[in-house]
């Protein structure tokens, strides 16, 4: 594993607070963390939630968002050349891992983003008291460390 996704404690608190808000019908919330490179590392600088009215109804126990927020991400990334991480939360106990749906669907988005700006876009997944991240490299998800700069500094996925 090389490189880390580094964020401030305040950014993580903002993300957790946003993702924990109940939605009218969607079981999960999604957001996007815009990042900048720092050598081998990636620094999270700006979290943008998906607006409430951009979730779509589905009979499956998954979260579907409309094309509009995805277009907004692509337009911003095209303009700013930033790296972007898809962010969501699995707020249940057990090993923190991407679902089959996540592994099937999110890489399609990451591949599209890479075609707009070739950068190591990725996924940031939160669980109860922990976090994991993967970046999209050579058409596959590569796990990377999550470092949260706070009191204390959290390395390797805590918080």
């Amino acid at each position: 594993m090389h490189g880390s996704l580094k964020t401030l404690e305040a950014t993580v608190e903002t993300i957790r607070k946003d993702l924990a808000r109940p939605h009218e019908f969607s079981l999960e919330r999604v957001g996007f963390l815009y990042c900048r490179p720092s050598g081998e590392n990636i620094i999270g600088i700006d979290y943008v939630p998906v607006p409430d009215d951009e979730y779509e109804r589905t009979d499956d126990p998954v979260c579907i968002i409309s094309a509009k927020p995805i277009r907004a991400v692509m337009e911003r990334v095209y303009r700013t050349k930033e790296i972007v991480f898809h962010v969501h939360c699995h707020d249940f106990p057990g090993e923190l891992e991407l679902s089959g749906f996540d592994r099937r669907e999110i890489p399609k988005l990451l591949a599209s983003l890479s075609s707009v700006v070739k950068k190591p876009h990725g996924i940031l997944l939160f669980g109860p008291g922990s976090a994991r991240a993967w970046r999209w490299e050579d058409e596959r998800l590569v796990p990377i460390d999550v470092v949260t700069l706070g009191f204390p500094i959290s390395k390797g996925g805590g918080r």
Binding site: L8, P37, E40, I43, I45, L149, F151, P152, I153
Partner: protein, 261 residues
């Protein structure tokens, strides 16, 4: 918890692992830096990035606590590396006899950097680097001001990204940088003695252990001042009275990106 560290078990059940996980950089390995090396290895830190361009001189022996007269002429970075490995042969130590500015990739690996530098300009540069790369910076320094009697002063500062910086604290400002630039090349010999170095280094190591373990649950920036004449270490009056930092917006962190306007 290892037997060696059983007396520091109050730091938390996972403190051994938390301390071992952090990569610490030490920039400047003379008086302050040598004390920091010595204490960090005892606390259990194992991942070090060491930077100093200088060779040890006889005049350094009054304060470089990890050196002996036989080390004169050796690189300070290598002396520090040897001191760590003598205590912990499995430690991961990368030592650079050179300027930290010339090895940014190695410095970027750090979670916490100790700045043990002379002069405001280099402190300013190191803080900019740390803010840009989201790295905690602990600045340590002492000075002796002429007078009758001379006055010993010093500081240990935590500049934590997301919190107030050394400019917010008033420690760095354009006036002191300009004054230093005007005196460039005429600084003469900078007085240094071992005991203030030790006091300030111990304070700095305490900050690093807090960052690694969170044991005391104290949060936020730290600016400890040292009055060597009165033998007093106290928080600077600015702590608790500062506005949020506007000098280093998070959106400016990271490497420059070139994008069409």
């Amino acid at each position: 918890m290892s037997d060696r560290n059983s007396r520091q078990s109050f730091l938390g059940a996972h403190s051994d692992a938390q301390i071992k996980a952090l990569v610490v950089g030490i920039v400047g390995l003379s008086g302050g830096g040598s004390h920091i090396v010595q204490q960090l290895r005892h606390v259990g830190f194992r991942r070090f990035r060491l930077f100093d361009p200088e060779l040890l001189e006889d005049s350094n022996l009054n304060r470089v606590v990890i050196a002996t007269p036989g080390d004169v002429g050796q690189a300070k970075a290598e002396i520090a590396k040897a001191a760590i490995l003598a205590f912990d042969p499995d430690a991961e130590v990368k030592a650079i006899q050179g300027r930290w500015q010339d090895s940014p990739e190695l410095l970027r690996e750090c979670d916490v950097i100790f700045g043990c530098l002379d002069g405001f300009s280099e402190r300013d540069q190191l803080e900019v680097f740390c803010r840009r790369n989201l790295i905690a910076l602990i600045d340590v320094g002492m000075d002796v001001h002429p007078g009758a009697p001379p006055r010993i002063t010093g500081q240990a500062i935590l500049s934590m990204p997301g919190h107030q910086c050394m400019r917010c604290m008033g420690f760095l400002n354009d006036n002191v940088l300009a004054k230093e630039a005007a005196q460039y090349g005429a600084a003469g010999i900078n007085p240094q003695v071992v005991w203030p170095n030790g006091i300030l280094a111990s304070t700095a190591v305490g900050i690093a252990v807090e960052l690694a373990t969170g044991w005391s649950q104290e949060r936020g920036p730290v600016y400890m001042t040292y009055d060597g004449n009165r033998r007093l270490v106290a928080p600077h009056y600015c702590i608790g009275k500062m506005h949020p930092c506007t000098h280093f917006p998070l959106r400016e962190a990271g490497d420059p990106i070139f994008a069409a306007l």
